[in-house]
């Protein structure tokens, strides 16, 4: 079920009503309701894969208990290995099997040998990367002794499949989310309103920003051979906003929805495009994944404790694995590697933790130096996103070669504006091409201004401090709703991160 669909608009109030009005007496029944709702939510897409979630849940539940009961360290280690092998095994089969088969065939044929392996027609279960990491964090924490295993199966199953964040995160740690299933949830008006507001902002990011940018991005990246360097660069900027709007929009809706049920999920995006260097960007982008890799891969590998060489090695490993997590394609691996190489100079010069606080915390505008850093970092990220968005490595190289050519200094190709239609207000005295470009720029500028003024909050419109009266705030919310309606249609677009 998609957050931006009519189905979800009907599903959410029903579950909310049952949760707070019918089953509010018992926490157990509330958890069962959440579990059932989560399975309905997931099964709406493909009920067959519910068995996969159920299997992972049962396995890790019993492994968690068995780890504590095991006396020998070897036994504990064996149980942890079993959990990792099974969970990663599912992930490897559904997500990476064909990639490995194809890569082996390519590698062997490169050396003149033919290998007869057959790739399979495998459907990737939505959200498998997310819930696999979530459940793995549980068994690892139990093994480490930082978390007590739960004996409450319903709570554990609800934690694994919690519908707001099941298919695209944030990837929650058991230590944060699981205890919330044990406690009686109280309805707090302020939290619920906050949740609604965050859902609204998430929908705006998805439907208005991401889906609009997607029209240009799909056109430019899909027909890159016909466009010049400046157009491809423009397309890359649109992609940067598309993926941000899409993914952070999803996270906002997930966090807001969870809040309606009395749950507190962790912030997943902290205004990453206002970062002053790539290290700061990675502290602000997809935080739940970055911290997962930090805690369960980087630190176990030794982190930066074993000297510079180990720190460099571990950084490269983490970024490459993180890239590979996104998808079974060499482009993602190279995307991770490029990020690592952009990050390493900061690490080696010990400047990777220079920008911890959000930029210009106590000021309205950034200093010139900060502004330059933000722009440079953003452009760097935009260029790196090209590798992420490209279909293949050769496609990525083709895109880079076009950008780093004289074509970059030409005006964007006019075909782009003729092929697309993005209109809200008809400025009849301007040509349609310029209208569309202007409107898109205005839209992104307004969006960034709102994000800038809300950068000290968990999401941009959390406080709406610039709107003093209730009347103005409601007007603002209704304006957002109106814009969302204008950009919606009967067929909601999927979220990009579903494919990961």
């Amino acid at each position: 079920m998609l957050f931006n669909s009519l189905d979800f608009a009907i599903f959410l109030p029903i579950v909310f009503g049952l949760y707070w009005f019918v089953f509010n007496k018992s926490i157990k029944v509330q958890n069962i309701l959440i579990l059932l709702a989560s399975y309905v939510f997931y099964g709406w897409w493909d009920w067959r894969f519910l068995a996969l979630i159920a299997f992972s849940t049962i396995l890790d539940y019993f492994i968690g208990i068995s780890i504590i009961r095991a006396n020998m360290k070897g036994q504990k280690r064996g149980l942890l290995a079993l959990s990792i092998i099974v969970n990663i095994g599912f992930l490897a089969f559904f997500k990476y099997y064909n990639f490995f088969v194809d890569s082996f065939i390519d590698a062997f044929s490169f050396f003149g040998h033919s290998l007869s392996l057959t790739s399979l027609n495998i459907i990737l279960p939505v959200g498998i990367s997310f819930y696999t990491f979530q459940t793995l964090s549980y068994t690892i924490d139990v093994y480490r002794g930082t978390l007590k295993p739960t004996k409450n199966f319903v709570a554990f199953a609800s934690f694994v499949s919690f519908f707001p964040q099941l298919v695209a995160g944030p990837i929650e740690r058991a230590s944060n989310l699981l205890p919330q299933f044990y406690k009686q949830r109280k309805f707090i008006y302020r939290d619920a309103v906050d949740g609604m507001r965050q859902i609204l902002w998430g929908l705006f990011k998805k439907v208005v920003i991401a889906d609009n940018c997607a029209i240009y991005v799909n056109e430019i990246f899909g027909n890159s051979e016909t466009y010049n360097g400046s157009t491809i660069f423009l397309g890359s900027i649109f992609f940067a906003f598309q993926i941000y709007g899409d993914f952070s929009g999803y996270s906002d809706i997930a966090i807001g929805t969870a809040r309606l049920f009395g749950f507190d999920l962790k912030q997943n995006f902290a205004f990453p495009y206002f970062s002053r260097d790539i290290a700061e960007f990675w502290r602000r982008w997809h935080i739940s994944l970055s911290t997962w890799f930090r805690d369960y891969l980087y630190i176990p590998l030794g982190g930066s404790r074993g000297g510079r060489f180990l720190a460099v090695r571990n950084t490269i490993i983490v970024f490459v694995v993180s890239g590979f997590w996104h998808g079974a394609n060499w482009t993602f691996i190279f995307w991770g590697a490029i990020n690592a190489f952009c990050f390493l100079p900061l690490l080696l010069t010990s400047r990777n933790r220079r920008n911890i606080q959000i930029v210009a915390t106590d000021r309205i505008f950034p200093k010139l130096r900060e502004l330059v850093s933000i722009v440079v970092t953003f452009l760097m990220v935009v260029l790196i996103w090209i590798m992420f968005r490209a279909d293949t490595l050769s496609h990525a190289l083709h895109l880079y070669s076009k950008i780093f050519s004289l074509g970059f200094f030409e005006l964007p190709s006019s075909e782009l504006f003729l092929n697309n239609s993005i209109r809200l207000f008809t400025l009849t005295y301007l040509s349609p091409a310029i209208q569309e470009l202007l409107f898109m720029i205005v839209l992104l500028v307004v969006f960034n201004v709102i994000e800038w003024f809300g950068r000290n909050q968990k999401y941009a419109i959390q406080k709406c401090g610039f709107l003093k009266t209730t009347f103005l705030r409601w007007g603002f919310y209704l304006l957002i709703v109106l814009i969302i309606i204008m950009y919606s249609n009967g067929e909601p677009q999927e979220f990009i991160y579903f494919q990961f």
Partner: protein
Amino acid sequence: MKRFISLVLVFSGLICLLLVWVFSWADGHSDPYYLRFTTSKQSDLILGTSKAAQGLQPTVIDEVLGTSMFNYSFTVGTSPFGDVYFNSIKKKLNKRGGKGTYIITIDPWSISSKRLDPNDSSVFRENTGFLNKVSYVNLNPNPFYLLRAYNGRFGDLIEKQQQWYYLHDNGWLEVFAKIDSISLINNRKRNLDSWIESNEGKYFFSKYRLRVLGEMIEYLQEFGEVYLVRLPVSEEMLAAENKLMHDFDTRITKIIAKSNGYLDLTERHENFVFHDGIHLYKSSGETVSKIIAEWIQQHRK
């Protein structure tokens, strides 16, 4: 909690008002099907695929027969004869409106299926189409259509864009096509040639569809008179139809017997202009509508 529920209700109410306001802008320029789901239940219906949707003009028929015809035809992809279309017709039909007149246009395509097993209705294309998604066909504005089936952005309902069609209130889809010799060649290439290329040899006669057509005629007979018409098409399209089903007339003999009459206009194709080789140009559609109406009138005497 009460405060929150009140707030949500008020806000939801305002959202609904906004939606109704945006939806109320929808008209015949917005979508080639939408208005057919916004009118009240109808007593006189034109049924069939896009050939009927574009070709048969209710006002022309009404002038002759004194009816109040409504064109409830769609496309061969969404409204071939089958349960999906039949159920939608049942919803649109005014069962208390007295004796009605029903013109059903038939051709080989609408009783065939683009499937190797043309009788397996569970995999029919129209199952995922808008006729199956829209449960209420008489609402204005119709959120069920707009929220589940409308393809464009809702903003486009307000900001009108120039379209190649206009859907009239009576369900007739007027197409603005150029019919100079060059445009005719280009349109034909784009529509007829590509249709034949992508569909020839892939459609198979469906006993199931023919059976449902029979049931549909029997059902409509309870509420009035049912006339079957085979609309004219260009020579090339006729050849393709004959290739698909050379014994079409034989196959529909039993069906004809259930109706009040059958008119085959395919032999008169040379008298008409087809803007894309498949669909009648509006002036020819006017003539054909008149021919059909006069034939029905004659038949009644």
